[in-house]
Amino acid sequence: MSEILQYIHKDGLFHRMHPGTKIFLILVIGVLTILTLDIPLLCLILLAVLLLALAGKVLREVLQQMALILAMSVVFILITLITMPEGEVLGYLVPGGLLPVTTGALYAGILLTLRFAILIISFQVFVITTQPRDLVNTLEKAGIPIDYNLMFLIALRFIPTLQIEARRIHEAQLARGYAPGTGFIGRIRSVAPVMVPLVSNALSRATVLGLTIDMRGYRTRARTPFREERMNLLDRAVIVILAVILVAFLAGTILPSFGYSLG
């Protein structure tokens, strides 16, 4: 069973990087990706992210997401084809003139797909190369309230536990002769027998989890770090490069476009 969004212990580029640097990296990628409308630039960013994943030794994990991203792109393009028919008509989805395939809609669909792909992959690379403890500590230092950090941490921590439990529950219900069938109806029918026990069991843990956090003094006592993560040369270099890219991008594309529209 593949584990979703879990830290993988390796010795790659990102494992050596300070969590703060990585947060800055995904922020810059995020800003660029959301602000630009330029498909070649987005392709370039996607390529860069994949190369970074390769350098971080997590490309295999990233490529496992491709099925999801491809499925998503089909949905996006279908939606834009139906909802935003603009520009030149290239053909029709249904022969006989129904559901035109237009350049404007294709462009919008591809734009959305690329944006989501970049955001998903960069977030995934960040999470699977950062020890949750370092992540929480960095966020804590950045002034994010500890309760929010804990929420994020616990959400990540319980993903594989819930995956394992969902499988056990599914097996237990199969053994009771439950055959929800396939397809859409099957999916709907299968919700209650699996989701109800899954959610109830998770909720029943909440009390003990809360008491444990409080008794550990996690929310009240100050922390004296055991291994202080420090920014090294790599971190500084990455931050400078990112800053230059960000400034160049803002100066070169976004600001002039505002200038033109204002003028």
Partner: protein, 478 residues
Amino acid sequence: MIKLEDVSYCYPQGGKEALSGVSLSVRPGECIFVTGPSGAGKTTLCMAAAGILEHEYGGKKGGRVTIRGRDVKEYPSLSDISGHVGMVFDDPEAQLIFTTVEEEILSALERRGLSPDEIEQRLASIMEITHLSALRERAPHALSGGQKQRVVLATTLALGTDILILDEPTAELDEQGTQSIVSVLKDLKAEGKTIILTEHKYSRFRDLADRLVVMEGGEIRASGPPDQLAAEESVRRIIIPDFSGIRDISVALPQRGSKPLISVQGLEHFYGDVPALRGVSLEVLPGEFIAIVGENGSGKTTLIKHFIGLLRPTRGTVTVDGKNAATAPVSELAHSVGLVFQNPDHMFFANTVAEEIKFGITNLGIPDPDKVLERVMEKTGLSHARDLYPRWLSRGERQRLAIACVLAMQPKVIVLDEPTTGLDGRESREIMEILTHLQRDGCAIVMVTHSRQIAEECTDRIITMEGGKIRSDITRER
């Protein structure tokens, strides 16, 4: 160290008192073993002693609790008390917040104002005493129950408290896991820790306990030196599970050579490249009551999942009631084999006990559903609970409901995975009584258990598994 004086408590939901007039004084370095049937107030006692009731719960409170001579009310918050008292609950899963063993322990160590050198030293010594050094980078979901509970214990130790309160720390654990916790606790006691421990398994912890406290109905029934107290008949009845007279020797053993309900030939199963079963052959005859015993990872659960098609053979054949279990759909095999999983909470989703039982009946299209429902509830002693919400039942009742759900599908073989985990002696006995009744009705029963006592006192045939193979298969004479 901890003193309870005439402590009474009633949960905010009302009902009868969970604790009434409990007084207990714990001396430094003492290990108190608290036992008693489910619902006796053991957990509530732990929470009172740890100051949790005072700081986190509403409800009606009476009496006084002091920790190191100071009233728990005078501590500003639970986190101040946690500098003196560490608490371990029964479900390890809910007490692990981080994603590696080391992070988990550090999360507690780093909140104590220690220098990095001190932290490193204590981390190493804690991991040594809890035997976790080799698991340092492992994620919690990749650990066994016993390992998880050791991480919880290690994290509690990292708080540096002299007092440890453990509420059924081995309830969810198998024999090996229990043993590992016992051995860690022995070392901690030798170090001078004060320990309050609630448990069902008295015999496992006997060497550890300085004083035995027996609770029943929210009160302390008896308290004193373990051996002396355990000799008293009224106490014995509560602490030593009794399965005498359950095995029904009047039932004729099945005839050798009669047509088997389950026939396994040369079964091998691989998880990826890892062999879990390596050439298992066995037959289950109608009316047999079989126990499968063996250590964790010996292949017990893997074997029984083949009976109902949840796992398919890598090599070899499994025939169930004339059907090929390698290819027949699970829903078809469910007509012949009923599988009861270890944790009943993995199956309940309906609003009432009756609806829960009907789920299987409807799925398989069993005729005369209402009559089947009534009969099954009567057999499992759940008629009174018909309209109750399954998750509000006691642990023993939930286990009986899990059996009822499977029984309602009228299988010829009932397969159970550790059906007495987390149950007290009386509840375990009730389960075994239900199973022998089913045997008398002609059902074959296959039960995975880690209790040698149950295997020997209740069943006719004991199969011992080791490393994915059957090491011995002994049918007992009558």
